[in-house]
């Protein structure tokens, strides 16, 4: 059942030095250190009874830190267990995010069977295709935008309810695009073969690129938030989100770009390329946050989790990742990989 050489067993890919190489481990250690620092800060602030800080902000900060710990632990264990497990994990996250999205999106009874297939066939199928490897790029990159779209429209028509037809079709499709399609590009990074500046094969690990990507996008969120709180004056769109300002956007993007440039060593990029990729991540993360805020405003909720538990849902945590993932993947594939 098991092959004699442990190196060829995908379940223990962590033994394989090509997948979990030194830069990846260093990056994980850095993240672990950072998380420990912010955790201690959070605990210290909470213990301070006469703090000048708003208790709601402290609470939000601590819940965010908890979410990061969870994200880090799950991601690390998934990466240690190999590509397939990581893909399955992201599939689960998509499933849950879609659940939150559709829960807050009004659908009619005529959409019921469409939704059934969306959840139980097309979401797993997208991740199945991603897990089959980069050879299936041609299929998984159009499966949801084209075929699932056609399916949704036809299936709703078949159900016989024409009320607000285009609106319902668009809503379900939007959920699929944001929660499933876009996010599935994050684990797809693991299947790219990166190249060095001179065109030879890069012998680093794609796991560190995935890690780098998630770290940069999350950092982008944090930096934009900090800059907004610190020097933010000009709110970008007060009707959509009152906490996002131009100062936050520019300051945050600048800080994220610097961080991404400093961490260039774990990627196949050089300094300038790393700066460019982090800039893109920060801008796309911002776009994701704004888009999801707009959807939430329209539905009259503050967080995707409020309906169910009173704290932010999974979709609030991954909105920036969803928007940044396809762009980061495509740039990586076209410019830095041997898979074109």
């Amino acid at each position: 059942m098991f092959s004699t050489s442990p190196l060829s067993n995908p379940l223990i890919a962590w033994v394989n030095p090509n997948f979990l190489n030194t830069p990846t481990i260093v990056l994980m250690a850095v993240v672990l250190g950072l998380l420990a620092v912010v955790y201690v800060i959070g605990v210290l602030i909470q213990r301070q009874p006469e703090s000048s800080l708003n208790p709601a902000v402290v609470k939000a900060f601590n819940s965010r830190v908890r979410a990061w710990w969870l994200m880090f632990l799950i991601l690390t264990s998934a990466v240690l267990l190999g590509k397939t497990i990581t893909v399955i994990l992201f599939g689960g996250v998509s499933f849950w995010a879609l659940r939150e999205f559709i829960t807050l999106t009004p659908t009619r009874q005529g959409d019921h069977r469409t939704l059934f297939w969306i959840f139980f066939l097309f979401t797993p199928l997208q991740y199945f295709l991603v897990g089959r490897g980069i050879e299936y790029y041609g299929l998984y990159s159009i499966a949801i935008p084209v075929y699932v779209y056609l399916f949704i429209a036809a299936r709703i028509a078949l159900a016989g309810d024409f009320k607000r037809f285009l609106e319902r079709t668009a809503k379900i499709q939007a959920g699929m695009m944001i929660c499933v399609y876009s996010l599935s590009y994050a684990p797809a990074l693991l299947y790219l073969t990166f190249k060095n500046q001179d065109g030879s094969q890069w012998n680093g690990s794609p796991a560190s690129v995935l890690f780098y990507f998630i770290l940069i996008v999350q950092a982008g969120d944090v930096f934009q938030y900090i800059w907004s709180k610190w020097v933010g004056k000009r709110v970008i769109a007060p009707n959509i989100n009152t906490s996002r300002t131009w100062e936050g956007f520019f300051g945050g993007t600048l800080s994220t770009t610097l961080l991404g440039t400093v961490l260039w060593g774990v990627t196949p990029f050089n300094h300038w390329q790393a700066a460019f990729m982090s800039l893109i991540c920060s801008v796309m993360g911002f776009a994701g946050g704004m888009t999801m805020s707009a959807i939430k405003r329209d539905r009259g909720v503050k967080d995707y989790g409020t309906l169910v538990e009173g704290h932010a849902g999974i979709l609030d945590r991954i909105d920036s990742l969803c928007f940044a993932a396809p762009v980061f993947f495509h740039l990586s594939r076209f410019i830095f990989s041997m898979n074109v």
Binding site: Q109, F116, V308
Partner: protein, 201 residues
Amino acid sequence: MQITVEILSFLAKLLSGASARWVDCNPDTCQRVYFANHTSHLDALVIWSSLPADVRRLTRPVAAKDYWDKGAIRRHVAKSFNALLIDRKEIKVHRSPVDLMIQEAGDTSSLIVFPEGGRSTTGELGEFKSGLYHLGKKRPDWELVPVHIDNLNRVLPRGEFLPVPLLSCITFGPPIWLEKGESKADFLSRAREAIIRLKEI
């Protein structure tokens, strides 16, 4: 029997993503009537599953005999949950459903009832049948707890058999009682309002 109960409530919780909220009301083993809006086949199962284990043991869903007495599987499920089956078709004068409920509940059990009498198709809360009023009149010591079920009609609507795993929410509200001299119509509309109010919270 026990296995059926465990598997079904696990599946129901997983599929409905139900979170239970207790608003001005706490789980208790005292005798209660949980009355809820009826939107889906899963309703009774999900309410029952969201109660704590010690309360669950004492709580019996009230269900329609014409539906749950058909076929071996339904009979088995009804029996596993210790459901109290009421005949909607043949209502006998000398043994009304309310008398049967009171007799079956004895001095320990609580009941889950759906005063609309059937599942609503629109998602709106329909008019209540008078059973709840008679229960409140004959057993004034029982707490009548309003329960609002949100979104479960989208998980498994009427006429569908495949569920869609959306997130639903069960809200338990503050108990009400029949006031002295309150008319049937007044009480029933007050009970109905009690459920509607939970929707806004």
